[in-house]
């Protein structure tokens, strides 16, 4: 590999830094109207009457729609919409809509929603439902065999995605063909969803993502407002743009669901796990919460494992997938209890993890991992942070005034094999230009550059020579950009097309040079004969011999059965905790990952740095706060909803394992989107435990929670 795995600058960098990159928010079309949505201020109510006439009578209003009849179930639910010539007119029109509500009882606090006398969130259905369960072996037998048993509860809060570009769509009808520009992670999925919602042929719908300003799971599918934009555009006969406000982004497009996980873990004196039991109460508002069993059941060798999870419904909008759903929460609990177990055993937490290392999934009881370089990640990460500097006993370090230092680590597992059947085309033009086309979407992860890198590698060219086309549902099918699917889906499909294109070029060159096609090598924009180096032809001549543009179809092949395909990672953090104020500072961070063959070192590092930063932010700062009395958020903006800034982020060392999966795909690449997001809150929480000698047990670890943990420690001693 000449280019794959090296650091390559993004092919779209110049457009981004010059401000020429057009995001959905930046697009305008002739005659375009602004759409706005009236949302319920009440968490539960019955709509008694709804009258759009006064809004429609306002000059400048071109369309209006009723979106809701009957019962409203959360504050922020859509009621009606208008389209007007400008934003001010649209907002004024919303205020003119006459609506009468009859308030109903509601509950937004998941703990209160569990009470037997709590208001029913969904008519005729219980507020608490089973979510997931898993069992292998016999945990009771395992606890009986244990020398040490640790029981702890860990809680995770509600985290909002808050992409910088709020959600938004523009809909325009070209006759019977609907074109939608959407800030989305899934052009094909939104296309199919729109076709279903509008009962319109999918062939007559095109969804385009230009540049998009972040999603993190909140833009994975069709949104209600996109359907509204299409219907308003139809009614008005003009394009309609709907862009959500920051407040709407906090109220109606999802968040990471909360968890409350209780663990009971048994181990022998030498650290061998004998039983692992977990119960979880999750809450995802009107949707299901995340189940967190996967990491618990998978990472460590343990014959006896049992989990039981429930989800609690409340009158808040449904949660959505949030970068590494279930895993960030489960990892926080599992890795917390592993550290508390290590303390109970008086053992190095890293040694405890090595002691229970697995080579097969389901806790070493399932099928073998196709590749697993977690051991290498442990070595690389421990070395990078200086693991030997940790406090041998949690809280046992020297005090520096009110500050205590500590080191912690956490492991991650995630899927990330990609999706067989992903398609990509490479088009060779007689003028030597090359196009790579795939209906994937670059959401800022560097997919465009990956496509160029792989095509250039196959064709002996430079990434900058390749024209990349993505982000349209009219292009060959690719999965949504989420779940760490994109690179291991798209890169192999591009490579498949690229290898076919290179083979064809060699055939054409062989005819010109009068040698066998096997004798041709591509390098330095020339085709040369291996056996007779005097024979060579310039790219321009060989491409011209193609005589017309030629398309090569590539497809990501299947995954051989009998193996588990996973990514792994190990994160290490050093922190300083102020025992008087509860403030946490992260001083140093090292992240080691096994994501197989890295396609672009530069963008891979950015993925890791971003995942660590988001995990730090969620671990220390981020929490949606709802007003119990009204069901409305009290921090629906970027000042009161705390997000980490440059002041909070330390130097982050990124290292990659170099063991390449032999069968996962034709490049050996695994996903990297989720993995760095998974263990970062857990690693920091464990470092705080190492610093102060008590696990805070809940994220975000606000100063108040840190001080409460210190009080618990004091009371226990």
């Amino acid at each position: 590999m000449n280019i794959i795995g090296k650091a390559v600058n993004r092919v779209d960098g110049r457009e981004i830094v010059t401000g020429r990159a057009k995001f959905t928010h930046d697009l305008t079309f002739p005659g375009m109207l602004v759409g706005k949505i009236l949302r319920s201020p009440r968490a539960a109510a019955e709509i008694v009457s709804l009258d759009l006439a006064p809004a429609l009578a306002l000059p400048g209003v071109k369309a209006a729609l009723k979106l809701k009849e009957g019962k409203v179930r959360y504050a922020g639910e859509q009621i009606a919409a208008v389209a007007a010539v400008d934003e001010a007119t649209a907002e004024k029109a919303l205020g003119l809509i006459k609506i009468e509500y009859k308030s109903m009882p509601f509950v937004v606090d998941w703990e209160k929603a569990r009470a037997s006398d709590a208001p029913a969130v969904r008519e005729g259905k219980p507020n608490v439902e089973p979510l997931n369960d898993y069992a292998r072996g016999d945990v009771e037998k395992g606890f009986a065999e244990a020398d040490v048993v640790v029981e702890r509860t860990y809680r995770t809060g509600f985290e909002i995605h808050h992409p910088t570009e709020t959600h938004g769509s523009i809909a325009l009808w070209e006759g019977e063909h609907l074109v939608v520009y959407d800030s989305t992670q899934n052009v094909h999925g939104v296309r199919d969803g729109l076709a279903r919602a509008l009962k319109h042929p999918a062939a007559n719908v095109t969804v385009i993502k230009t540049y998009m300003g972040g999603g993190f799971g909140s833009k994975l599918g069709l949104n209600e407002y996109t359907v509204v934009a299409a219907n308003l555009a139809k009614q008005a006969g003009r394009p309609v743009k709907i862009v959500l406000t920051r407040r709407e982004n906090a109220m109606c497009v999802g968040y990471r669901p909360s968890t409350s996980q209780t663990y009971k873990v048994g181990a022998k004196k030498d650290g061998t796990l004998t039983a692992l039991q977990m119960t979880n109460v999750a809450s995802g508002g009107l949707g299901e919460g995340d189940d967190v069993t996967e990491p618990v059941a998978d990472i460590y060798r343990c014959a006896n494992c049992k989990t039981d999870e429930q989800t609690v419904f409340t009158n808040t909008c449904a949660s959505r997938a949030t970068r590494a759903p279930g895993h960030t929460q489960g990892d926080f609990g599992l890795e917390g209890v592993m550290d508390e177990l290590a303390a109970a055993l008086d053992m190095d937490p890293l040694e405890l993890r090595r002691k229970n290392y697995s080579t097969k999934n389901r806790g070493d009881t399932g099928v073998p991992y196709s590749s697993k370089a977690l051991d290498q990640c442990y070595d690389l990460g421990a070395k990078a942070i200086g693991w030997e500097r940790r406090n041998k006993k949690p809280g046992g370090g020297a005090a520096n005034g009110p500050w205590r230092r500590g080191l912690g680590m956490a492991t991650s597992i995630w899927a990330g094999a990609g999706v067989p059947g992903t398609l990509a085309d490479i088009v060779l033009y007689p003028d030597t230009s090359v196009e790579v086309v795939c209906g994937t979407q670059d959401i800022g992860t560097g997919t465009k550059t990956h496509m160029a890198v792989v095509a250039a590698e196959c064709l002996g060219m430079a990434p900058a020579d390749i024209t990349v086309k993505e982000g349209s549902s009219d292009y060959p099918w690719a999965p949504l950009s989420g779940g760490s699917l994109t690179t291991p889906s798209v890169a192999p499909a591009v490579r498949d097309a690229g290898l076919k294109a290179a083979a064809r070029l060699r055939e054409v060159a062989a005819v010109r040079l009068k040698v066998g096609a096997d004798d041709i090598v591509l390098a330095g924009r020339r085709f040369s004969s291996k056996s007779d180096p005097s024979k060579s032809a310039a790219y321009a001549d060989v491409f011209r011999d193609l005589r017309r543009e030629t398309v090569f179809h590539g497809e990501r092949g299947g995954l051989p059965e009998g193996f588990a395909y996973n990514t792994f990672g190990a994160h290490f953090a050093e922190v300083e905790v102020n025992v008087e104020t509860g403030q946490i500072r992260v001083l140093k961070y090292a992240a080691a990952h096994d994501s197989g063959q890295i396609v672009n070192r530069l963008t891979a590092e950015s993925q890791v740095v971003g995942g660590v930063t988001q995990g730090l932010s969620a671990g220390i700062f981020e929490e949606r706060v709802l007003d119990d009395a009204t069901g409305n958020p009290v921090n629906a903006n970027l000042r009161d909803y705390k997000i980490a800034t440059a002041l909070d982020i330390p130097e982050i060392t990124t290292v990659f394992a170099d063991r390449i999966d032999p069968r996962i795909n034709n490049i050996g690449a695994k996903g990297l989107g989720e993995p760095p997001r998974i263990p970062s809150s857990a690693a920091i929480a464990n470092a705080v435990f190492n610093a102060i000698g008590v696990h805070v047990g809940e994220i975000p670890m606000t100063p108040q929670r840190v001080l409460e943990a210190l009080k618990r420690k004091e009371a226990a001693s």
Binding site: N9, D12, T164
Partner: protein
């Protein structure tokens, strides 16, 4: 009760009338028609009252004259009227820095700055940072060090950093952190951004 609160100000306008005219919440939405074209007394002296005003801005070196509403922000004028969409509207209330532009060389949040206040002044946006095809060193550094992910916050960061390096050509890591603490990157690329800023500083010193 209500009437008791109405006390005439020096300019002949009650505080209550004035607030009513302003609308609720928005900054300077609509002013009472009788006041338009007049002046009102403030602690800083008499100031004129506008509904709309013709202003002249020099944007990225180009002089432009346009009529703006009194409540239009500089950001809305740049994005909506001048088609300069590089500056982003992320929070629309001065919390994220995505709309940072230079006003006479100083970084300002364009979403918190009324366009009429920029009358006669010089505005530089991200579109004006490069000289023709030649990128500004900060832009080059962002590409080289991968200072971005989705790129949505990037214009604001580039404007904040270019302003910082004009004033402080050799910032320490802590000074960089401090200078960028008003810009949010949700993808979380700060650790890469530090390196990009330091690279840009070296480039600017070498240039």
């Amino acid at each position: 009760m209500e009437k008791k609160l109405s006390q005439k100000t020096k300019g002949g306008v009650t505080r209550r009338d004035f607030i009513k005219g302003m609308g609720t919440g928005a900054i300077g939405t609509a002013v009472l028609p009788p006041l338009l074209g007049q002046t009102v007394a403030t602690r800083k002296g008499r100031v004129p009252v506008y509904d709309r005003k013709t202003i002249t801005l020099t944007v990225n070196g180009q002089k432009t004259t346009l009529e703006v509403a009194a409540n239009e922000t500089l950001l809305d004028v740049l994005r909506g009227r001048l088609e300069l969409t590089g500056s982003k509207k992320i929070c629309d209330r001065g919390e994220c820095g995505g709309c940072t532009v230079h006003l006479d060389g100083d970084p300002v949040y364009a979403c918190m700055f009324l366009a009429i206040r920029a009358d006669g002044r010089s505005v530089k946006t991200v579109e004006g940072l490069a000289r023709g095809d030649r990128l500004h060193p900060v832009q080059e550094a962002w590409i080289e060090k991968d200072g971005y992910q989705c790129g949505y916050c990037t214009p604001g960061f580039l404007m904040a950093v270019s302003a910082l390096l004009e004033k402080n050509p050799d910032p320490t890591r802590d000074e960089i952190r401090q200078a960028l603490s008003g810009n949010l990157c949700r993808c979380g690329n700060y650790a890469k951004i530090y390196a990009a800023v330091e690279t840009a500083a070296r480039k600017m010193k070498g240039a």
